[in-house]
């Protein structure tokens, strides 16, 4: 068969979703089925940290049904992910294991940033002219149940991505206490969100406007799509046309005075969704106002799309139309900028560290993903000084751990944070909680941290003065020496001394000692 069938399963907090896709050899992705079933495991988790027996049973029942459907489509590959409700249970590994035992499905658990990154991937890969749109400037507003995610693009680059705890369900819950009429919702919502959105605006936008607003959500998207398609004279559905913001606002104003029941009738959506739809619409409107957008679009992607696009992209089943690694790096760069990271130093350090990394492939055995983590660590390595000049490592660690970097999982973020910490502080081998040495079964990520720390330290040593004396290096390996040929005119005593000092840790990790050899002197 020229076609591969794939299933993407989203074990969401309030709903289970599965999409069946076909990947063709020509590099296209086609959705052939979308099944959704409400199972509210979120309320359990958020209330007492555990999923009730009843909901667990229901969850597994539906997942078993899903496997039946997968079988009927002869699905070859699948990816299943749990999000916050699974992530935030007290016993995530046990929940995952129970699901595995009862359904045979292997569930991965996504951190918020990974989840949003997948949504974003789906948008980037599914939207026609995505590159053009982000070149014009765009904000992706990803509305979830608990929080919203804002991802800002300028000149085709991802500038920042911020999570705010203003998801539709959360807002709905808060509002429920006030029992407002539909007509009051907008006003209240505006008060609730104004402060956060203003902060975002001050930090990242200033007086600039963002031309395009891209919405990802479960409620208002379909309506934006229909309106956009209608406004552009096209057929409804399967469309990513843009809607003028004025038209969107006109639409919201029409809904303003309606009851929940009338909304449901008008829009042909279940009554229970009508209010959430309105909240979603009002959120969109607030954000649009904040970033002064002209146009709005809703590609109608779900996490399932993200899962499929991620799979297709990493397995090279679709052409790379967007540089996602570039997004992560660019995002890290903007975080560094915010904490006064030194751009000139970072640039040289990145070059040196990657040079070392690339030339040592046989010694460290790490891959592209770890190379990316190293790049991020380099970008962020000196942000600690923003908080404290003496606690550089600890401060940087804390900043990184508190900053979402889209596309990195939680554990990857911790790797980055610890690499940075150990760049300044002594490396600590991790013991388990009972004080036993874990060397016998050392964690993969510990090795990564140790190796990348050693490389970062060495790179840093080479630009110790932060004067970029050393710009080009060549690295070679001879016996127990790692020979770093430097092309440099000035005095490198300080750097040489630093390299010697970090040499012992480097040796501990790679069993080689780094030495600096001045190339210019060799020539002469």
């Amino acid at each position: 068969m020229a076609v591969e069938t794939f299933a993407a399963i989203d074990v969401g907090s309030f709903e289970l979703g599965m999409k069946i896709f076909e990947f063709s050899k020509k590099g296209s992705i086609r959705e052939i089925d979308h099944i959704r079933q409400r199972v509210d495991i979120g309320s359990d988790t958020y209330a007492d940290g555990k999923i009730s027996y009843k909901n667990m049973e229901e969850l597994c029942r539906v997942l078993r049904e899903f496997t039946r459907i997968m079988k009927s489509y002869h699905v070859e590959k699948y990816r299943a992910y749990g999000t916050s409700a699974i992530r935030e249970t007290d016993n995530t590994p046990i929940v995952v294991d129970q699901i595995r035992q009862r359904t045979g499905l292997e569930i991965g658990v996504l951190s918020n940033s990974e989840q949003r990154f997948l949504d974003y991937k789906a948008v980037a890969l599914k939207t026609k002219d995505f590159e053009k749109i982000i070149e014009e400037g765009a904000l992706i507003l990803d509305i979830g149940g608990g929080s919203i995610q804002l991802s800002l693009f300028e000149n085709g680059k991802l500038l920042t991505t911020q999570n705010m705890r203003m998801g539709v369900l959360r807002i709905d819950e808060e509002m429920m206490e006030m029992e407002p009429k539909i007509s009051r919702i907008r006003e209240l919502l505006s008060e609730m969100t104004e402060h956060h959105l203003e902060t975002f605006r001050e930090l990242f936008l200033g007086s600039k406007k963002v031309r395009n607003l891209i919405v990802i959500d479960d409620y208002v998207s379909q309506i934006i799509q229909k309106r956009a398609a209608y406004a552009n004279g096209g057929e409804s559905g399967h469309n990513t046309s843009r809607l003028e913001i004025a038209q969107f606002n006109k639409f919201i104003n029409e809904l303003h005075s309606k009851s929940q029941e009338e909304l449901s009738g008008m829009l042909g959506i279940p009554e229970e969704n009508a209010k959430l739809m309105y909240i979603s619409a009002a959120l969109v409107s607030e954000v649009a106002q904040m970033c002064k957008s002209d146009k709005i679009m809703a590609p109608g992607v779900t996490l399932c799309d993200g899962i499929a696009y991620e799979y297709a992209q990493t397995h090279k089943l679709i052409p790379d139309t967007h540089d996602f690694v570039g997004d992560i790096v660019s995002c890290a760069q903007h975080i560094a900028l915010r904490y006064n990271g030194r751009e000139d130093h970072i640039k040289v350090l990145e070059k040196l560290s990657l040079e070392i990394f690339d030339s040592m492939k046989k010694m460290h055995g790490l891959g592209a993903r770890e190379r990316l983590l190293l790049r991020i660590a380099v970008r962020l390595h000196d942000i600690g000084k923003y908080v404290s000049m003496s606690l550089l490592g600890e401060s940087a660690y804390r900043i990184v751990m508190a900053t979402e970097i889209i596309g990195l999982s939680h554990s990857e973020r911790e790797i980055v944070a610890r690499i940075i910490k150990y760049n300044y502080d002594d490396y600590e081998y991790q013991d388990d909680k009972h004080g036993h040495n874990m060397n016998e079964h050392i964690d993969e990520s510990e090795l990564v941290i140790a190796k990348l720390t050693a490389i970062l330290r060495l790179g840093n040593a080479l630009d110790r003065s932060h004067k970029q004396k050393i710009r080009n290096i060549s690295v070679s390996h001879k016996d127990d020496l790692l020979i770093i040929g430097v092309d440099c005119e000035g005095d490198i005593t300080l750097e040489r001394n630093r390299v010697d000092r970090c040499g012992s840790f480097f040796g501990e990790i790679f069993a080689v000692r780094p030495v600096i050899v001045k190339k210019s002197s060799v020539k002469k």
């Binding site: 069938t5 009927s72 229909k226 409804s236």
Partner: protein, 717 residues
Amino acid sequence: MGELVNFKDTSFYTNREMSWLSFDRRVLSEAQDKTIPLFERLKFLSITASNLDEFFMVRVASLLDMVNAGYKKEDIAGLSPKKQLALLDKATHELVKEQYDVYRKQLIPELAVNHLRVIEHHEMLSEKEGAFVDRFFAEQVYPVLTPMAVDSSRPFPLIRNKSLNLGALVCKKNGGSELEFATVQVPAVLPRIVEIPVGTDECGADSDGIGKSIILLEEVIERNIRKLFLNYDIVCVSPFRIERNADLTIEEDEAEDLLKEIEKQVKKRQWGQAIRLEVEDGMDARLLGIISDELDIEPSGIYKIKGPLDLTFLMKAYGMEGFEELKYKKHVPVDHPRLTGEYDIFEAIREGDILLHHPFQSFDPIVKFVKDAAEDKNVLAIKQTLYRVSGNSPIVAALARAAENGKQVTVLVELKARFDEENNIVWARKLEQAGCHVIYGLVGLKTHCKICLVVRREEDGIRRYVHLGTGNYNDATAKLYTDVGLLTCSEYMGEDATAVFNMLSGYSEPITWSNLALAPIWLKKKFLRLIGRETQNAREGQPAKIIAKMNSLCDPDIIAALYEASAAGVSIDLIVRGICCLKVGIPGVSENIRVRSIVGNFLEHSRIFFFENNGKNEVYMSSADWMPRNLERRVEILFPILDEKLKEEAMHILKSQLADNAKAHSLKKDGTYARVQKHGASRYCYQEVFCEEAKQKEKATRPDPIANHVFIPREKV
């Protein structure tokens, strides 16, 4: 101006029961129509009788329930249940009288002329004939009879719904003068019509030996009643028949197991309250008194019949051998021109959408569609809704076969199809045993849509083939009912069909629909929008037109929307076979609406809708009528016809029906119907025309071996 009119004014509406009765009257008028072959007229009379039975068991029963429950809500025409019952009471008695007038004054004499002698009373048998039926009684009837006498020690027996019985007053021989009630059911296992062989009597058959004599079974039993009550003297004997309340009110939310609940209900139904008692006119008053007291029947529920009770036996009479010249020549459905000879159904669908019009065109392709899917190795799944299927349905067999072949088969079996539950349960179990995933309907909703989805894995990926229809997946009724169906593999239709089955399986609704509109959530709004669009166009001075064909029209919102459209100047033609609560010709309200009803040889069953849409014509078909129950309490589908050629085919159907001047009745201002006048035009019977056209179309595609000088060897069967 128009805004001032309240289109929901009850005076603008006709009561649905009265409208239904006038439909039955239209059927009766077919029985009176001398241009129709005599035996066909028997059939129509039989239909009026079985229709009326159902009407009593369901509609009248439910009105009685309402009255008993003190429910006073007025209907669409502003009538309380009590007032409706009063109206119906008068009208049904009249209708029954007309039925028997037709039977006795027209059909019986004409049958005699045509060599079929119906012996109305056993007293009219000749001696030889009498001897024959007595022997017949002794050999065949007596062994299956269960006579029952009632006295203080034996309670009044259960009289089964719709069963025919003989009631008698008897008096113990030597036991004095006390009268006792006795009864015996006319056994349903024996044919009602007893044929008396030719030659049994000199006047039974014509001299040349053609012709027949028949007598009804109850007359044979009555003649021999003494043999059943040997120790008694028979004072009087007379047939009677009852109908009971059959309305199933299943507490769906409470039923643990819907299936069991229905089985229980079916058994219970025989015990429903008796609502109608038919007795032979002239029944002894004492006998009538006992029966009506015991059954607790109101005087208005008693029908004194001048003739045999239960005219549905005429359907059996129709089936009697001989008399073929008194029947229509049987129409054999012909092949669709694109589906002739040996063909690959999937390939045919890939070449373009196919519109099938039954019974003019054969239903076989649909059976083949499921059968081939069951055997095709590339087919992954078959999903289908089943409402009423024929006994021994080839579709059910194919679905079972598909499951055995390892395909994923999902079948939604609607158990709530009225009077059909027992039948449905049996084959639903059969499917389950074969490994199909059977869904036994939805709680609180009847699944009435007719849709079949075949998921097939092809070289370039999954392709979905969909059949959508207006009629049930029933190969037997597909020969008698006019229905339309669409075969397509359009991507959007496939997506929607998949979503339909996801919803029916209990999953959430899809985020958007591309082509289909579903009741009970979206369909009514869609219709109102489509009608409203025409209204808007008319107001803006654009051409605006609606043609809609359906079985019944009684949804007040739809009717109000049609009134508004008519008031705005939309030209509206409605072809409504049965109930129509809309009134025509109301000044400022419905002057632009014309309603016609076609009652023909085939039962009109298709639902087709045309909207002019300012030149961008839209044609839809649906499983739904414009009735609240279809639009609000059932799962129904409206599907568009998108292919321009097929749109023309659909329009041809509508236009031909509007041109019919043979079988069409038009609704008058006063609420009555009258046959459409020819006004000098030649006779145009659309059903006949379509039989002929279907044949011509098929012929045109059939290779002519002689003309082509090419002989094609037949492939092994």
